[in-house]
């Protein structure tokens, strides 16, 4: 089903997404520059870029186990933080010079404190993030961003000027713009790229320098514009979920003959649907972007209706036949999200499948069976009557 590519750009993206460390990260590190680990996507990565450092979204792809997290977590903590912590204790994420986190969820906020205690990362910073979305909350978060900026400046002895911030915002906006261009291509009847590959491209952006990424993505887009489209697929599917950083899971769904053409994922469309405002003071712009502007995660109270509408609009725009939503077991934030979405999509007549999948993909047989059955369910007269 994969289109043929002349260059190796897509392979590089795939490789980057499949491993915690990649070549450009190593080059960056070798040149003496710093890397700051970011927990989840409410971190204003532009501030890190403006400081001349590389924001790295924490991931544990390919993790082999969680044994080393046992002393700090129990079986009711989610796989994401346990695998991540295990990787941290093993020293596999030792290349980060700092870690910044928000209280994104109960698992993550305690993950931060356990990390602080057990793993000696030279710089650590924590920012409370509001639980609802309003003017006052954006103001409170702006103060946090200012504190974060000051602490980076102080610890690393750098200057983060407004000019640098503006430039960083423009750079990150450019990344988002290119990514939206990539998504635009998926609206076609024969998209030139699979859902798994798009996801790899999206995940790769969180672990490499933005300039290089933008150059590569521009190159890939050029190829895609002239490349062949994929026509041998059955249904057009949209995937909804949170912090999923493994394209393999989309690959498993697509192995059943469909094409994933759209998403509402933490690494996906929710991260690129909006840009950071360039006409106002940069920290205010960043705070407003995260608290008010970008499509929210279930973590922010009162945002379901917008998020459900967002899903429906995308489903319409990308001419989707069905929606598959996924949740990591033990995630409270996504628990009712699934329930609310089921009710909403039913009302709007959009077929929907929910899956619980582990952070590190194991029994793919179950996912295959369910996806296949779901596709058969929505395939009209695929198998005759």
């Amino acid at each position: 089903m994969n289109a043929q590519f002349k260059s190796t750009i897509l392979q590089d993206f795939r490789k980057t997404a499949a491993n915690p460390v990649n070549v450009s990260l190593q080059e960056w590190k070798k040149s003496g520059r710093k890397i700051i680990g970011c927990m989840y996507h409410y971190i204003p990565e532009e501030i890190i870029t403006a400081a001349g450092m590389l924001p790295y979204r924490m991931k544990a792809v390919g993790s082999k186990g969680t044994e080393l997290s046992e002393s700090c977590f129990t079986q009711i903590n989610c796989g994401f933080v346990r695998h991540l912590f295990d990787s941290g204790v093993r020293g596999e994420l030792g290349f980060i010079d700092g870690l910044v986190s928000v209280n994104n969820c109960d698992h993550i906020r305690r993950f931060y404190e356990n990390w602080q205690k057990k793993i000696k990362t030279p710089y650590m910073h924590f920012m409370p993030f509001p639980k609802k979305s309003g003017r006052e909350q954006a103001e409170v978060y702006r103060k946090e961003l200012a504190d974060f900026k000051n602490s980076l400046e102080k610890h690393f002895n750098v200057q983060i000027t407004d000019t640098k911030l503006k430039k960083a915002i423009e750079l990150h906006n450019e990344t988002r713009r290119l990514q939206r261009e990539l998504y635009e291509l998926r609206k076609k009847k024969n998209p030139p790229i699979t859902g798994a590959d798009v996801h790899a491209v999206m995940v790769a952006s969180s672990s490499m320098p933005k300039e290089k990424y933008n150059t590569m993505l521009t190159g890939l887009l050029e190829e895609l514009y002239t490349g062949e489209g994929i026509s041998d697929y059955s249904e057009r599917i949209m995937v909804v979920g949170g912090e999923l950083d493994d394209p393999k899971f989309i690959e498993v769904i697509e192995s059943q003959g469909c094409l994933v053409v759209a998403d509402s994922l933490g690494y996906g469309y929710r991260a690129i649907a909006e840009d950071v405002d360039t006409d106002i003071e940069p920290l205010t712009a960043l705070a407003e972007y995260h608290v008010l502007k970008r499509p929210a995660c279930p973590r922010i109270f009162g945002t379901t209706f917008n998020r459900n509408d967002f899903v429906r609009h995308i489903a319409e725009e990308f001419k989707v036949d069905g929606v598959i939503s996924v949740r990591l077991p033990l995630c409270d934030e996504w628990s009712f999200e699934q329930v609310n979405l089921i009710g909403y999509l039913k009302k709007h007549g959009i077929p929907h499948l929910t899956l619980d999948i582990d952070y590190i993909l194991s029994s793919t047989g179950q996912i295959k069976t369910r996806s296949q059955a779901f596709l058969e369910t929505i395939s009209g007269t695929k198998h005759g009557r």
């Binding site: 109960d106 906020r109 404190e113 973590r299 009162g302 033990l330 628990s335 609310n340 009710g343």
Partner: protein, 430 residues
């Protein structure tokens, strides 16, 4: 003329009848327990208020203990916490079987599942307005989210209080802002203006309650402990924050509890003939605790001297100005009420409380229930182990759902505790 039954009231009629029956049985008894009798009367009165509001279209709220219920009391607006009665009457209903058949993932907290189930099945009357509490856990926030997504509640106007994460002056001030916005919302919703003098009276009454509660706690430090397991925490929390705040009847009940304990303390007597060991239960108390307390006392001569629900060092609120009252309420509701105190922000408060309680109350061992809903606390277990090692007290880490007795059945629990006590020479093995 027949009117359509009001959604959720059938269940409340059932509660009302049950309280009435229990109260009349107790009144007939030769030696009624005066504290329990007073408690059930307060519950009955509260449920009757709910029924009255729902039947006669009087405004009432769905809210939660950490949302400064003192303010509703001052405005004369009745409030219910959806899960309270479901927990109180759990052994009389089939609600637990009901949550099994619900589509919420089973890896969530029993209390949260019950809350979602109750609104979905119409076991609570639809309120006039809702104040959402977004702390201390993720599930609390998304539970409210599920309610506003529910067809029966979708038109209920709501206001959500955003908690600050830390406990500095500016954090409390931010929450004061939230409280002011909540007051504006309530005034707008009900047409009732908040009378600040009335708020002063309510807070002064609660100040009195918390002072007595504090005295009651001080006495529990004595060896042997003059009061029973989970006694003050169960009653105290219910009457101070789950019914109309600042209820004079609640103050009287606190006095009763104190007097009862004091009489034993002055006679140098413990709650038990012979007290072998003293336990800290490091969490809230749920629907599993009553039988656990009884069994520990009977089988092991062991008293649960303190828990997070009973140990809440409420500070006196300065009632001199509007601002001082709101600041006091912000502090109380952000950093003092149970669970929100230990679980809202970073791990320090949880650990400091454990250390302080162990030292002050001469605790022999710590039970950490590992409640499935407290995902933050489960990830605090490393810190807890370390603290207990430094204190030199044995720690028992369990995994249970404190609101669903089926999760860790009693026979399993007793088996685990027997082994633990035998290993550490505690309880009857002392």
């Amino acid at each position: 003329m027949t009117t359509k039954p009001i959604r959720g009231l059938e269940r409340y009629y059932e509660y009302r009848e049950r309280w009435k029956a229990i109260i009349s049985d107790m009144e007939k008894s030769p030696v009624p327990n005066p504290a329990l009798l007073a408690l059930f009367r307060l519950f009955l009165e509260n449920d009757e208020k709910t029924i009255d509001c729902a039947e006669n279209n009087k405004p009432f709220l769905s809210s939660w203990y950490g949302n400064a219920p003192e303010i509703y009391a001052a405005m004369g607006i009745h409030y219910i916490c959806v899960v309270d009665n479901l927990l109180a009457h759990q052994s009389f209903t089939d609600d637990l079987a009901g949550i099994d058949a619900n589509i919420v993932p089973d890896d969530m907290c029993g209390l949260i599942k019950l809350g979602a189930y109750a609104v979905e099945k119409g076991l609570v009357p639809t309120p006039t307005g809702m104040i959402a509490m977004l702390e201390p856990c993720d599930a609390q926030s998304v539970l409210h989210e599920s309610w506003i997504n529910n067809d029966a509640w979708k038109d209920v106007p709501y206001f959500a209080l955003d908690p600050a994460y830390r406990s500095g002056k500016e954090d409390f001030e931010y929450f004061v802002g939230e409280l002011r916005r909540m007051i504006a919302f309530l005034e707008n919703l009900t047409g009732i203006k908040l009378d600040w003098n009335r708020l002063r009276e309510v807070i002064e009454e609660t100040n009195k309650q918390y002072e007595i509660w504090d005295e009651y706690n001080q006495l529990r430090r004595a060896v042997p402990c003059p009061g029973g397991s989970f006694q003050g925490s169960g009653i105290g929390w219910a009457i101070s924050q789950h019914i109309m705040a600042g209820h004079p009847g609640a103050t009287d009940l606190f006095r009763m509890l104190l007097a009862d304990e004091e009489s034993r303390y002055k006679a140098n007597k413990g709650w038990l003939e012979k007290e072998n060991s003293r336990v800290l239960w490091a969490d809230l108390i749920g629907t599993v605790n009553a039988p656990i307390g009884e069994w520990l006392e009977k089988e092991h001569g062991t008293v649960v001297v303190q828990d997070f629900q009973g140990y809440t060092p409420y500070s006196h609120i300065d009632t001199s100005t509007e601002e001082s009252m709101l600041l006091g309420l912000a502090k109380r509701n952000l950093a003092e009420v149970p669970m929100i105190r230990q679980a809202r922000g970073n791990v320090d408060v949880f650990i400091e409380d454990v250390i302080r309680i162990v030292e002050d109350y001469k605790i022999d061992c710590v039970f950490f229930p590992g409640h499935v809903g407290h995902k933050d606390q489960s990830a605090s277990v490393g810190f807890l182990r370390e603290a207990c090692r430094e204190l030199g007290v044995p720690l028992l880490v369990l995994t249970m759902d404190i609101f669903d007795p089926r999760y860790l059945p009693m026979d399993k629990f007793t088996h685990i505790v027997n082994e633990f006590f035998e290993t550490h020479k505690l309880g009857k093995f002392k």
